[in-house]
Symmetry: C2
Subunit: 178 residues, 2 copies
């Protein structure tokens, strides 16, 4: 008597699709350098450092109050420092709680803020550069004025601007590429 042998064939299990699944929140690409990333935090730290240096060196010079451009650099570097500090704190918070900061209103706010502060810092740096070049090269009055101090503060402001530009472009790019 021959019994029919039952053969078992494995069946591929198809993944269950739950119709009730919540759709993922639309978020932007997580590029290193964006808010809430380590690169973004590093950029903010550099900005803060250079802004603080420009602020300190210029404020310590004896004649910053008598020249409008030097006072303006102190104000612009102060504003840039505060903005970068605020965003560095936000970045640390986002990294600690693993929160994504890449939704549209937040990135728009960051892009506008970065755009304003970077323009103000660059304007102040250029105004001070114009005056230091006038004093040093054109009038040769560095014996009277502390040129090295003024030039150092101007250089710090330019470096601050250079480190703010990537933050601005990252935010602007991710805003446009949605």
């Amino acid at each position: 008597m021959s019994a029919s042998s039952a053969s078992v064939h494995p069946v591929e299990e198809t993944p269950a699709t739950d119709v009730g699944d919540v759709a993922p929140i639309v978020s932007m690409k997580n590029i290193e350098g964006m808010p809430g990333t380590r690169g973004g935090l590093a950029l903010r730290c550099f900005q803060l450092g250079f802004a603080a240096a420009a602020f300190g060196v210029m404020a310590a010079s004896s004649d910053f109050a008598s020249v409008s451009a030097f006072s303006y650099l102190v104000a612009a570097a102060g504003l840039q420092g505060l903005w970068s500090f605020f965003l560095a704190v936000l970045d640390i918070y986002a990294l600690l709680v693993k929160r994504n900061l890449h939704n549209r209103p937040i990135v728009t706010f960051f892009a506008v803020g970065d755009g304003i502060t970077t323009t103000l810092t660059f304007a102040a740096a250029c105004a001070c550069a114009g005056i230091t070049v006038l004093i040093d090269n054109d009038l040769d009055l560095c014996s009277v004025n502390k040129c090295v101090q003024l030039q150092s503060a101007t250089a710090m402001a330019f470096l601050c601007w250079l480190t703010t530009l990537p933050s601005f472009f990252f935010n602007f790019w991710s805003l446009a590429s949605r």
Copy 2:
């Protein structure tokens, strides 16, 4: 004898899809203000006008050669004027032959060029602003120097920068939003 009446129902004609159709060339959005549009041409004309005015007014001042920032403004306004003239001619050509200038390499070239010229123009305007404010407000030496002429050239350079910014942002935005 009853004859069956044949009723005629209109059938909606479906558009013929030709498989051999050439796929449309990938192009960016045609926003007014982009290269090859009337808005873009208007922006270039404004830039050219303000750059020429800044160049002419500053070059006509007696002491522009003795101050580095004033010489730099003349150079920056000259470069900006040439760039805007070149792009205005390209816009006129594109409008006349109805050619689309919105492919990626061209827009990248325009965005980089606009970025460089707008930064140089803004830097020159800020440097001159710093010096004119120093002469006028801080040192009160307007009786010796032609302040109105210097301030007019600086204001023209700022207006030139303001009209270059939209061109840059249009190009940058369309580059990012592809």
